[in-house]
């Protein structure tokens, strides 16, 4: 795709009105696009077509895919609760490739380095393009302009929205499940590969034409809890191993030991304390990065000291958050994905550790969701511009390396804080213009760097509260200049003409594009 037929969207980015043969709506501003249609309506099934004894097992994944009618051009979905330990997605496309199937769309809820094997199937034409995240090797492959179609990046909530609204029609959903029964009821809390929950697969189960559950722990009906309802499931496959659950722990789920990062964490926590954001009954989402985890620990200290507790914390859960729950510092964890095995254990054992889905947490085309109720959300970013717009998918070299995750959705919290180092590898993080806009500045309230805190001018209330604070409050321009004084202004990446991916906003409109990088 070349650059003709682009239009300028509400945040000033030139975006296409069509990719992969589908019409697109340019970003119109936060809350401005109002959907007028109806949700996607799946075909009506009948019990008459399903075994009355509830046994939907078939011998292999290949059998299930054939029964589900796998053919050229279909959209195949998977979830990422196993994170880098997923063993199922690659198998699907290996089978499809061996069958000579072409032009599939892979629609994962996220991809990881373990999926780099799929590059082979992107090359041989089995996969046309990915709608999801293109992380690591897949990102580099995409940025090189090598994917046949155009990648589509969505937030977790945007993925639910896209399925619900029929923007993406899933032909076959494959749900890797740590435990399931022959009817297709499934959960992530039990079994040798327990990974916590299956919320990212909820939309897939509800709306896909055919649904396949793959498990290595088949139990007699009923599989309880039934995070996925067998009533949505067509086939069940038993395999030897469905995922490597130790690999849900990534390198970022330990608290940081870097003095710089600890400083960021401490400044962020102090900011929350001084502005009164931390109060009895408050709610927070701190994410899973090293800095974010450290902030959680500071929050715990502050709560203990003040004799307060948090009504609820939003997970990704991990051992630190679980400890807060078990110590009574947090009443509920509303968890979207478990980041370690302590999170899995807690979700299995503790009714106050609640599994959620992008429907309950993030779907913007809903009658509200809980992301906007969070008092404070701590997020990361690869770049921020002087208007507080931020980037999470590309680096300053222009290469696509990350998915959006829940990041866009979380921006709707009452206060969004980005604690970020002022520069990374001597490249300033604050720019005049970010490489890719993933989130509009109006939703980003505070930037915390090791050399100062910038509050969005829109948040006069926070600026007022920080008057007289010992914390170094500066303007974002001041922070940018300070970084550039030290590092200079870096060269911009050289992009080609090809649009390799588009970035969707939470409402399905297009907020930005990613072009191929020319080296």
């Amino acid at each position: 795709m070349n650059s003709k037929e682009l239009v300028k969207n509400a945040i000033g980015r030139m975006v296409p009105t069509e990719v992969n043969g589908k019409t697109l709506i340019p970003f119109m501003g936060v809350g401005k696009y109002k959907p007028t249609g109806r949700k996607y309506a799946p075909m009506i099934a009948t019990c008459a077509d399903y075994p009355s004894d509830g046994n939907k097992t078939v011998p292999s994944l290949k059998d299930a895919l054939i029964k589900a009618g796998l053919k050229d051009g279909m959209t195949i979905s998977t979830h990422h609760h196993f994170r880098n330990g997923d063993l199922v997605a690659n198998q699907i496309f290996q089978i499809a490739s061996e069958m000579g199937i072409k032009d599939l769309v892979w629609f994962p809820s996220a991809s990881f380095e373990c999926h780099s094997a799929l590059i082979e199937y992107l090359k041989d034409g089995t996969i046309h393009h990915i709608e999801g995240s293109m992380n690591g090797s897949l990102g580099r492959f995409t940025s090189g302009g090598n994917m046949k179609g155009v990648g589509v990046l969505r937030s977790h909530g945007g993925r639910y929205q896209a399925v619900q609204d029929g923007d993406v029609k899933i032909d076959i959903a494959v749900i890797a499940a740590p435990t399931a029964d022959p009817f297709g009821n499934a959960n992530g809390v039990n079994g040798p590969a327990a990974c916590g929950l299956l919320g990212f697969a909820l939309a897939d189960s509800q709306y896909a034409d055919k649904v396949i559950v793959v498990t290595d722990n088949l139990v007699p009906f009923p599989c309880i809890p039934w995070q996925i309802h067998g009533n949505y499931v067509d086939y069940v496959v038993k395999v030897d191993q469905v995922g490597i659950h130790e690999k849900i722990v990534s390198g970022t789920t330990e608290i940081t030991k870097s003095p710089d990062r600890l400083l960021l964490a401490e400044m962020t926590a102090k900011f929350c304390e001084q502005t009164g954001i931390i109060h009895d009954g408050f709610s927070f989402q701190a994410g899973a990065g090293g800095t974010a985890l450290s902030i959680g620990i500071y929050f715990a200290d502050i709560l203990k000291e003040k004799g307060m507790k948090s009504r609820w914390a939003r997970g990704g859960s991990n051992k630190y958050l679980v400890k807060m729950l078990e110590e009574g510092l947090v009443e509920y964890i509303l968890d979207g994905q478990t980041f370690d095995l302590e999170g899995v254990r807690s979700m299995r054992e503790n009714p106050n550790h609640v599994d959620t889905s992008p429907f309950t947490s993030y779907n913007y085309h809903s009658k509200g969701n809980f992301a906007s109720m969070v008092d404070v959300t701590i997020l990361g970013a690869t770049e921020v511009d002087v208007n507080f717009n931020a980037n999470v998918v590309t680096h300053s070299d222009g290469i696509l390396l990350h998915g959006i995750g829940g990041w866009q959705n979380c921006l709707f919290s009452k206060c969004t804080i980005l604690p970020i180092p002022l520069f990374r590898d001597r490249i300033p993080v604050i720019k005049d213009e970010v490489t890719t806009i993933c989130g509009p500045g109006e939703l980003i309230d505070v930037i915390v760097t090791e050399r100062g805190i910038a509050i969005n001018p829109l948040r006069k209330d926070l600026i007022e509260k920080m008057k007289g604070s010992s914390l170094p409050v500066k303007t974002i321009q001041e922070l940018k200049e300070e970084a550039e004084k030290i590092c200079g202004v870096p060269d911009k990446p050289v992009f080609g003409d090809k649009i390799v991916a588009i970035v969707k906003w939470v409402d399905g409109t297009v907020i930005d594009i990613v072009r191929n990088v020319v080296n």
Copy 2:
């Protein structure tokens, strides 16, 4: 409506092809009607239209109804988890009547004697007709030919099917909830009016245009468990009292003391033992009537004696079933409604006491449901004919007095047994032809009466297993003749020309009609 334009359906009953302005499909035989369309697609909402702090409370039910756009001709739904202790349904129509609204359709999941107050609003034109059950006084009113429109009787599963498939479009769902938060998350297990679960309101929450949650126990977000998701909810109303939960206990939730009924129970249990239906890991549904409860107690004794346990029991739960769960005789209760406060407590405390909905249990237009997996289901009937067809909605005098409940759905179990007295008030229960066919004989396997057991000739396997049994196995004709020898053949009721209600089968087709009774 008069008798012209009737067609004969697959079970030989004359049924209309249209009532209340809607086209109908005559019953085509079990599993014969294959839906070809798509599910009902609700309008896409957007968070932009809902308060970002999640507070959807409005001052009163009237305010909520006005905001929801209450107007003439709308369909208003309620659930029956409070059974005879419901305090909300009557208020809705009182408000509507005071506002001068006309021709509403009331779409409850069931009605009880406490709803007899609605006769006033059926008379004054506020309510056009009821789609649900017309029990007791409402049934008599309907049978008298006094309802403006034609009543539509559906099973619990048929109700979910009708909503899912768009046969019934709910304009406003009002969900009475023992506990809720301001976002609309709600449950039935907590709060002063705890009634157990809210599964009957699931379809309403998912598909209604506007959803109102009414509660007397408003808690801070998050209300956990969230049996109803606030993401589907438009308005939340706090009231003084939402229901009288002691009244979920009806007169039939104590074990029978009648020697005749105890004999039925004992014979049924022995039949299940002798045929091998009771085996380690079996599943059963015994219902809540006095006889059924006694059968459960016999089952418990047999299990204990044999050192076996049941994998799961289907509730309606009550103190007897809870005792079996707590004694380890049953591993899971899959519960559709709690019939006493012990059921409520157990569901609140015990993760193996699982709340279900008509979606998971009964919806026939699904990829299977668990009703067909139950090894044995014990049900009641007002009449049975010599072809094993049975009636649960009218009595032999022709008067409509009961709803279908889950009865039709449960017929799909592996073995359906009806333990019924051979006559009631000197009227034989086995007839040449039942007044109203609610369930086709091919799905009813065994009739147990105090004077003998009749096995459906289709179940050659069961007949074989009972050869040489000490239990009195007879043909259904023999049982009928025996009853008629004692009581004579009763007069048939005298019906008028008016169709006052239709009876839907689980797939939405029309299996029979109910006419007005002329006295």
